[in-house]
Symmetry: C3
Subunit: 266 residues, 3 copies
């Protein structure tokens, strides 16, 4: 039973904590394959990690275990949880990390089951109050990868913490969404989907006092330095500066409001 | 059939696209082992990636699959390809990434076979026009790792795009080569081989108006701050500043001309 | 015999040498799983790597092979070695990298056996004088992972180079230790253990002219910007600035002296 375990953390690369997580998992499940999704989540940015999980996990096979450790509340009363979302699993703190994966699973009609990690027999024998990633989450993931049934890892948890993540709302003449992610090139990925760009006219996009008329098909369809809008690889509206950095040009970051309207072209 | 798949991209580490490639590959070939060669290729620097592939791939076992995604032409008419180079495979865009691997395979007398990735049954069902790395290349690599025969993945491609990569040329009294790669420490790796440093006299190396007389055996043979020349671990001429950064000291980057002559020592 | 091999180097991420190590290992042991502990050790910082190995390796399973390449002496007469430390193995240069792993194994009553890598039949056929990481250490690790008995890889080595790593010393009224590691967030991890903070009174910690009275349980127990002391996840004294960077605030780095005394609270 070769099982895949992914890691998503805010540890950064210069530190050794990611290696320790891998050690804990492989000690329990030596045949697991551990895959780094990202260790470069902005520190304590739960929403960024939730978004990454929403966008990456659909490409992984059934029975993949996703461990996320972005955990500003470690050492407080915040709970740990594991979730079955369709055919995959999530393990991490109960702070909203699974919000978007859960929303996607529910809207795809998949079954969602969440448990409270309340059984210390599946944790390391010494649990520190500052590194549950190692002592609880990696250990639980290791047991799961080694074949322990999900339902044995804890009792039911009915009220997971969920993020108030921006949703798309209707406006008078279109939609209001938000920048959800800024990638390494400064491109702005929004929560507006391709369908939101279909309306009575040509789309007119507004962000930070700037207007973009219509969509381009690829970067190559805009001139250098031009602010353009396109439908990205995950079928969402993305705003980019050709050969440049939209985030720094506009001075915006995740959370910035984006509005879509429609105009009649002459 | 546990198969190794390597990844070489310009995605950077802060982004999540590398994780998505891994997911696509493992969904098709759950027993594959995915290895990151580099996600830090300079954006759109096809030559840098070609060089990395030339230098790393000989150390990998037969049947390794190398996926490279440095793809400035995505969304245009540029083709995708896969290649069999001796006992290994390459999958990526047809933009010259395989130039140096192919040159090495041919000069080693290995068989080279290239196909056009023109069969959508081996791609993801929805192909975006901006992320063929995921939708085509990772998917094709996953099928190959899962045992689909190479020849089924596409029809023959006779005219792959090849880079005009610097080659070593003879001069009146020696050789003219070029800096091919600047490593993390600012050392300059050239395309001049150990054999080019053998001549009638002691080697005299010229770069950017500077002269280096003779070779040292290791860094330790030069004084701090001294510009030295040595034969590096891949049997090529490398120029270094001891305890310093040759690239920033000289103000040079990949492509810079390097000349080798010979002088009589008194 | 699926075997785990970890890598710890100072290569940085932008370079391709780590990929080459992986290739060499997998060519000899295709079923090995290679895990990156860190490629971000400060260049030539042997102590930092030794500390990472001490702290990470206990979490890995028996029979894990740890390869470390932080090797300022490559090309000189410095020897290569392999060690059996309890149930795990180490492979790397004889420059003190195993100092802390060895100290921990001995104080846990484990058997330690060290050999000199003096048998070229387990190296790559062409050994450069500047990249033993690839030509000797990765190759030896690959043979070990493939099942070659440890004792065949070399003859006994009785006098390994050991670092003069800071140890905790008693003072008139307490203990003197040192900062051993600065993490990505600027937190200062020391070699003082929880037991050193137990004394006749409340602990009083001194570093760089600053005093810290008592310990907090978690970051959350201090106000923003406050310098606090706590017992960290590896049971050691750690000094942190809440929501800040202790290393830059205090202007200290690894090696800085830390003193513990005790005071009577009114």
């Amino acid at each position: 039973m070769s099982r895949i375990v992914t890691l998503t953390t805010d540890f950064g690369r210069g530190d050794y904590d990611a290696g320790v997580l891998i050690g804990v998992i492989l000690r329990l499940a030596p045949d697991a394959q551990v895959v780094d999704l990202s260790h470069d989540i902005e520190r304590h940015n739960v929403l960024e990690a939730a978004l990454l999980l929403e966008r990456c996990t659909p490409y992984f096979p059934e029975r993949t275990i996703h461990v996320a450790v972005v955990d500003p509340g470690v050492g407080t009363e915040r709970r740990g949880l594991a979730a079955r979302l369709g055919g995959q699993w999530f393990v991490g703190p109960d702070n909203g990390l699974l919000t978007l994966m859960r929303r996607a699973a529910l809207s795809a009609g998949q079954e969602v089951e969440i448990i409270h990690l309340d059984r210390p027999e599946f944790w390391l024998s010494h649990v520190s109050h500052i590194f549950h990633g190692r002592d609880i989450f990696a250990s639980v993931a290791g047991h799961l990868a080694a074949g322990v049934p999900f339902s044995q890892l804890g009792g039911p948890l009915e009220d997971p913490v969920l993020l108030d993540a921006p949703q798309v709302l209707p406006t008078a003449g279109g939609w209001q969404g938000a920048v959800m992610h800024v990638d390494a090139f400064g491109n702005l990925s929004t929560n507006l989907e391709a369908a939101h760009l279909q309306g009575s006219g040509s789309p007119l996009i507004r962000i930070r006092g700037r207007q973009i008329h219509g969509l381009v098909r690829t970067f190559g369809d805009g001139g250098p330095g031009e602010l353009v809008a396109l439908i990205d690889s995950v079928d969402r509206l993305s705003l980019c500066v050709v050969n440049g950095n939209a985030a720094s040009t506009l001075g915006v970051k995740a959370g910035e409001r984006v509005e879509v309207g429609f105009e009649q072209l002459p």
